[in-house]
């Protein structure tokens, strides 16, 4: 079975998010970058299925050389090989077209992403790849099992979950519970250095969106404190002042 896992590079979850003085970009000074946590869950599940049933796991990333450390980390966790499309990932459709163009020739059985990246929170790339390759897609999946040529997944729906099945090949995006991320061991880290990392030049030309500027959320005014002996004051404030109920 051939897996392709798409990974993106995001600021570590504890990062204080700030922007450059002109507000045109994220301020990456001193920021530690990691594999997007949901992508890492997708990668881990791919490895689990591969270990049980055989196959290969390839990771693909659209980005520049500064992403090589997170690609090596994915190899250390256990991916067999990696591909980097050498372009800045500024638009979801652009990224999806690049990955779809690469995947088309390689005939993957399963294409996985995280449910969204924790920086742009758009969750677009998986569905776009599936549409471009004309294969089924299951978004925000919490479970994945593969039996022969059929996959059974659990996905989030509004107000519950659904168990669905699709035929291979298909694409899916991972939500929490998909798998528990693994910490790479020393052998993994050593072998990651020699695993193949192929660099491919981009071919897509579409870029229908661009982020013009960024803002931090508006600063909150000071917290109004209520005496613990008188929670009824809070009830009144929430009703009359905040009009929250």
């Amino acid at each position: 079975m051939k897996f392709l896992v798409c990974i993106s590079q995001v600021p570590d979850t504890t990062t204080k998010i700030t922007f450059t003085p002109d507000n045109k970009a994220f301020n990456s000074t001193g920021v530690q970058f990691i594999i997007n946590p949901y992508d890492e869950m997708a990668l881990t599940r791919a490895l689990e299925v591969k270990e049980a049933q055989g196959g290969t796991v390839t990771v693909i990333h659209v980005g520049l050389t500064n992403a090589d450390p997170i690609i090596r980390k994915a190899l250390a966790i256990g991916a067999d090989d990696a591909v980097r499309i050498n372009a800045e990932p500024t638009d979801a459709l652009f990224v999806a077209e690049e990955i779809a163009a690469y995947a088309k020739n390689e005939k993957y059985d399963v294409i996985l992403t995280g449910r969204e990246s924790i920086d742009y929170n758009s969750g677009q790339v998986m569905g776009m790849i599936a549409e471009l390759l004309n294969i089924p897609s299951v978004a925000v999946a919490t479970k994945l099992d593969i039996n022969g040529t059929t996959a059974t997944l659990e996905r989030e729906i509004d107000g519950g979950k659904e168990v669905v099945s699709v035929n291979l090949p298909f694409a899916a995006s991972a939500q929490k519970d998909f798998a528990e991320p693994r910490i790479p061991n020393m052998r993994g880290i050593m072998s990651a250095r020699t695993k193949p990392l192929k660099v491919v030049e981009p071919t897509a030309t579409v870029k229908p969106t661009v982020s013009l500027s960024f803002q931090s959320p508006p600063a909150k005014s000071a917290c109004k404190m209520v005496d613990a002996e008188h929670p009824e004051e809070l009830a009144k404030l929430l009703h009359t002042e905040a009009k929250a109920f």
Binding site: T13, K16, I17, F19, F26, A92, L93, A96, I118, N121, S122, G123, Q124, V125, G127, M128, E131, L132, P136, V138, A139, V140, E156, D158, G159, G160, E162, V163, V164, S165, V166, F170, K176, V206, P208, T209, V210, S211, L212, F214, Q215, P217, K220, S221, C223, K224, M225, V226, D227, A228, P231, E232, L234, A235, K236, L238, H239, A242, A244, F245
Partner: protein, 323 residues
């Protein structure tokens, strides 16, 4: 030219996210010109329900009544939406960013070579060029996204736009898109029954490790009940199995933006705040006066939750009873 709105139905009913999307679509059409067409994909949606959509500003409903559309197969929904967009000559397509929206909007964008703004929080700040604000960095920022493609798709964040009545004369038109067989089979639906859906909830009561154990959640649920609220929890609580994972809000859990978020016994780690920071009113109740939550809360009580919560619940009950 019309604004196309995907009016999602749940077992034949339109809920808040669809009405927010319709109101948004109506206000967008006022800026861009044209009328609003709602697309309903489903099976056996009652005529009265369809007509209701006119109350929120759409002048036409394209209703595809087909058993294949009773469950979500993203490819099938995409094909139907693409056909509706072509038929109506739509340049703007609005979804609510529900799980269905998340499944369908990206596929539609790829098919139509359209730019998609996922998680939009407001009407466009300008239509020429077309710029929309969306959430990013898991609630820790916003970005203004310019869409340059001819067709533009907007997936509106849940709870981020008001609902207005815009009574409009509406015609219901049967719509028979050419759709193939579903590629996704739904085997089982597991509903979280009887509870307020967390992502749509106006009020959320959330609790953390300060509750000391799962056996103490009764008072959290009692408070939620009197407010008609959904319950949520912090990551450690879900990780320890005190509460189900689907209640976990935060960076790696669910992101929500209710009108009122009450955090009880949650310190307010940055990863937790990422999931709730766009809530309109935030209340923190914590025994530790140094808890980071108080820095971002609007109202706070430093005190023992076990003492405060039952009293607060009773007080809210009384306020509700007297109004």
């Amino acid at each position: 030219m019309s604004v196309l709105v995907f009016a999602e139905n749940w077992d034949g009913k339109f809920k808040k996210p669809s009405l927010e999307a319709l109101t948004y679509g109506f206000e967008l059409a006022q800026k861009t010109g044209g009328t609003v067409t709602a697309v309903v994909l489903g099976n056996n949606v009652a005529d009265d329900e369809l007509k209701k959509l006119g109350e929120y500003g759409c002048s036409k409903v394209l209703y595809a009544n087909n058993p294949k559309l009773a469950t979500l197969s993203a490819g099938t929904y995409t094909a139907a939406m693409a056909e509706a967009a072509t038929k109506e000559g739509a340049k703007h397509i609005v979804f609510s960013h529900t799980y269905t929206g998340k499944s369908v909007a990206p596929r539609l964008a790829a098919r139509l070579k359209a730019g998609l703004v996922a998680g939009a929080v407001a009407l466009p700040t300008s239509t020429e060029p077309f710029v929309i604000k969306k959430k990013c960095f898991s609630g820790k920022g916003f970005t203004d996204v310019q869409v340059t493609s001819d067709i533009k798709i907007i997936a509106l964040a849940i709870n981020s736009h008001h609902i207005n009545a815009n009574n409009t004369a509406v015609t219901i038109e049967a719509f028979s898109p050419a759709i193939g067989d579903n590629d996704t089979t739904v085997n089982e639906v597991k509903k979280t029954s009887g509870k307020v859906v967390l992502t749509e909830a106006e009020i959320v009561v959330s609790a953390g490790r300060g509750m000391k154990g799962p056996e103490n959640w009764g008072m959290i649920e009692a408070l939620a009940d009197v407010l008609g609220a959904a319950t949520a929890c912090s990551k450690p609580v879900a990780d320890m199995g005190w509460r189900p994972h689907h209640e976990h809000v935060g960076q790696t859990g669910i992101t929500i933006s209710p009108n009122l978020y009450i955090a009880i016994g949650i310190s307010g780690a940055i990863q937790h705040l990422a999931g709730i920071s766009s809530s309109k009113i935030i209340v923190a109740i914590n025994i530790d006066k140094e808890a980071p939550f108080f820095k971002i809360a609007d109202y706070g009580i430093v005190g023992d939750a076990f003492q405060v919560i039952p009293k607060l619940t009773e007080a809210i009950k009384q306020v509700k009873a007297s109004h």
